[in-house]
């Protein structure tokens, strides 16, 4: 009958209402949430191992897995649709689940259920019992006052000649879950804001003395005035920094010196020192002697296709109508010497010149070995390898989501601290009249299989005993078994 009524009720509901209800319950399900987090963990593990040598080791050990391992390396998990989709689902689940929990948590804080049952007290793993000659009302009043002295809120409700007690501590700590979960969503929001309205230039290479536009819709450019580095006795870079000037429309705005961990911020844009390397200064002149190009090319952006140990640079020079590829000498000629087909010496560069555009001064690609300081004709042009220099690698970023991230971090830490270090402790009890006109109070914690909760309850009983000046009988239904015994049904009482 009841089932038929429920069935009728469901049948009478709007289909849209049913869909919304089911969707809501899906997102609120703890089991589904656990499955989502577990799936996210699996994807994170797959993505993490992709950045390691582990898949390759698996393929070496089990050659038949090679196609799977190749696909593994090829799949950019963290920017894939399934990963983004899962993050979205989890964010929605966190939001809905949190909203769903608000009424219940608030009710337990503001309007807790005071009444309990004798069955709860009888079956509690640990309880305390006080017998008093006082009336139930007097014992309840004294007990509430004593419990309140221990920092608990004590509430009472009279029912059928009995007085039910409810006491709790750190009730507002239950709200700690909300800032924590809000923080998780905000971190994702911060990431989205940064990705949508910010930018991050990872390899902004700049040779000493050269100037380059920042781009990204700004009218800024950067000129590297000086780059310097120091080395340890072992030849490892100990420190390096760049002295540069920021320009707007060619006019200097500000100068700064940056080094790793010491960036420079201008407005909402930050300039970071990320690395350095070797550069080569090239000059192109035409037949009239006009300089069409003179700038430093950072080597190492590319590697020669034939010899990975030879750093290279590529640049299109529209003002000269050519595209230049410059390859430097092999950095480690003793390693795999068979790859070093160019046999360049120090002070030499290999140049591959390609025509750029229909009015290019060269008709077909040219390959030339350049000696430092010696101009070499190429069609109507003259190419000179002027000198070697250094380049500084900068990173430039605009990260508008960072303030959201800072706020989220604070909320996350605060939420965790409140939740873990101020646990909500709850105690229930009943004061009953005894035949002689006295009363009896039985108290038990809501802390099933919770060792710390039971320790807190023991401390409360000790305080209560001191305040009331009456002995409390402690009942422990899950005491630690004595040596040689086993099982959980041992009941111990102590006066």
């Amino acid at each position: 009958m009841a089932q038929a009524t429920a069935g009728q009720r469901i049948a009478s509901r709007n289909p849209l209402e049913i869909v919304i209800d089911r969707t809501w319950r899906f997102f609120c399900s703890v089991r589904v949430a656990m499955a989502e987090i577990a799936l996210l963990a699996v994807l994170v593990l797959i993505g993490t191992l992709r950045g390691s040598s582990v898949p390759d080791s698996i393929a070496v050990l089990l050659p038949f897995t090679r196609p799977v391992v190749d696909a593994w390396y090829a799949w950019d998990v963290f920017h894939s649709l399934p990963f983004m989709g899962l993050l979205t689902v989890i964010s929605v689940a966190i939001a809905i689940c949190t909203i769903n929990r608000v009424p219940g948590i608030w009710a337990s804080i503001a309007h807790p259920t005071i009444a309990t049952t004798h069955g709860f007290l009888r079956n509690a793993e640990r309880s305390g019992e006080i017998t008093s000659p006082l009336s139930p009302a007097a014992l309840a009043t004294q007990s509430r006052a004593a419990i309140a002295k221990s920092g608990y809120r004590a509430l009472a409700d009279e029912r059928q000649r009995e007085i039910h007690l409810y006491a709790d501590r750190f009730r507002y700590a239950r709200l700690g879950t909300f800032p924590f979960h809000l923080a998780l969503i905000l971190i994702l929001v911060g990431g989205i804001v940064s990705a949508r309205w910010g930018f991050r230039e990872m390899e902004f290479m700049l040779a000493e003395g050269s100037q380059r536009a920042v781009g990204y819709g700004t009218d800024l450019s950067v000129r590297l005035n000086d780059f310097s580095e120091t080395y340890t006795e072992q030849g490892i870079a100990a420190d390096y920094h760049s002295d540069f000037t920021l320009l707007r429309d060619g006019e200097p705005l500000e100068s700064a010196i940056i080094s790793p961990n010491h960036p420079f911020t201008h407005g909402d844009m930050t300039f970071y020192q990320s690395g350095f390397g070797q550069a080569v200064v090239m000059q192109i002149t035409d037949v009239a002697g006009n300089v069409r190009f003179e700038d430093a090319l950072p080597l190492g952006q590319f590697r020669s296709a034939d010899n990975p140990e030879a750093p290279a640079a590529v640049i299109d020079v529209p003002t000269a109508g050519v595209s230049m590829t410059v390859i430097a000498p092999d950095e480690n000629p003793r390693s795999q010497p068979e790859l070093d087909q160019l046999n360049l010496r120090s002070g030499q560069m290999y140049l591959l010149l390609r025509p750029l555009g229909p009015s290019s001064p060269i008709a077909e690609p040219l390959a030339i070995t350049l000696n430092q300081g010696t101009p070499v004709p190429a069609g109507d042009l003259s190419i000179t390898f002027l000198r070697e220099t250094r380049f500084s690698a900068l990173q430039i970023a605009r990260n508008p989501g960072i303030s959201i991230f800072y706020a989220a971090s604070f909320l996350l830490v605060a939420g965790l601290a409140v939740t873990f270090y101020f646990p909500h402790r709850r105690i229930r009890g009943i004061v009953s009249p005894t035949p002689g006109g006295g009363s009896k109070l039985v108290l038990a914690p809501m802390a099933r299989r919770d060792w710390s909760g039971q320790q807190a309850f023991d401390r409360l009983l000790n305080n209560l005993e001191t305040s009331l000046g009456a002995p409390i009988a402690r009942i422990d239904r899950v005491t630690e078994p004595p040596a040689g015994a086993a099982g959980r049904q041992h009941v111990a009482t102590s006066p």
Binding site: I37, A237, P263, L416, R449
Partner: protein, 300 residues
């Protein structure tokens, strides 16, 4: 300075010996006395063994007390070793795996001894101290050149934030090791019902309390690391393998906390998650050996 570094190494040697001896004491205490009794049958043809019975009886608590004393010795020597190296280097030694693991030993021993004192449970030393001794063995196996002090590479030259970031990681890993010990002992205690092991509820609570320190610490590792990354690289998250390995570990402990508090997963299931979580923490700890990426300089 060389003398300080040498003396620091001698202290580490003393700590290693104390750790190994302490581990032996704790194991002896946790396992108890093993008595194997054989039933003999006397016949006219001679004596035949017809069966045997293995019994475990509790070991004297004096053995465990001796283990605790040695653990305190190990802590004192290891702390002195790290202190001397700190003076010699002019910074907390966290720059390579030798320094990181040496400091980790101090934090691990402190965490264990604090928990031992708080809960009055010594049996967990049978798992934590062998872990510490294993870590000491790992340090011994590292190249001897790592014992020398090298200047910090430029990427790490942000000493305050590095100390906070790596120090919190050590705190997180140490508490996860303690939680793992509680979980492992829980599984042993419930499977074999060894009477003198702590009650399963206490072990369960022990593991949970350790995670309530480790999880916020790991959260802070990720947050402080992100702030440092923003300061050094211009992005607070780069999907770097070491970052994502830490995130993976964080997610496992998030699952543990949610299943325990919302689904009531105590006991075996919770213990297995803690074991798995610690495996993930070790994977993150040693990740520098097989990860590339932005944290590669923190490797060996």
């Amino acid at each position: 300075m060389d003398a300080l570094v040498r003396f620091s190494f001698y202290c580490f040697t003393a700590a290693s010996i104390a750790m190994v001896t302490s581990a032996i004491c704790y194991i002896a205490y946790a396992v108890g006395r093993v008595q194997v009794r054989q039933a003999r049958l006397q016949t006219s043809a001679g004596t035949a063994f017809v069966g045997h019975d293995t019994r475990f009886t509790p070991q004297s608590v004096a053995v465990a007390r001796f283990g605790t004393m040695l653990a305190w010795f190990a802590l004192a020597f290891q702390a002195l070793s790290v202190l001397l190296r700190t003076i010699a280097a002019g910074r907390v030694p966290l720059a390579n795996m030798y320094e990181f693991s040496s400091t980790f030993l101090v934090v691990l021993l402190v965490m264990y001894l604090v928990f031992e004192r708080t809960y009055g449970v010594r049996q967990l030393g049978a798992i934590v101290l062998p872990l510490a001794a294993g870590m000491a063995a790992y340090i011994w196996l590292l190249p001897a050149a790592m014992r020398e002090i090298d200047p910090l590479i430029p990427a790490l030259q942000s000493i305050t934030i590095m100390t906070i970031h790596v120090g919190l990681a050590l705190l997180a890993y140490s508490t996860f090791a303690v939680a793992f010990a509680a979980a492992a002992l829980f599984l042993v205690a419930t499977h074999w019902r060894v009477a003198w092991l702590p009650s399963p509820d206490l072990l369960d609570d022990f593991g949970f309390r350790a995670v309530t320190i480790g999880f916020p610490a790991l959260s802070l590792v990720l947050i402080v690391g992100s702030i440092w990354a923003h300061q050094a690289w211009g992005a607070y998250w780069s999907w770097d393998p070491k970052e994502t390995a830490a995130l993976f570990t964080w997610l496992i402990y998030a699952v543990y906390l949610h299943t325990r508090t919302l689904r009531g997963w105590r006991g075996n299931r919770g213990a297995w998650i803690l074991v798995f979580g610690f495996a993930a923490a070790i994977f993150t700890y040693y990740g520098n050996y097989f990860f590339g990426g932005l944290h590669a300089y923190g490797g060996v």
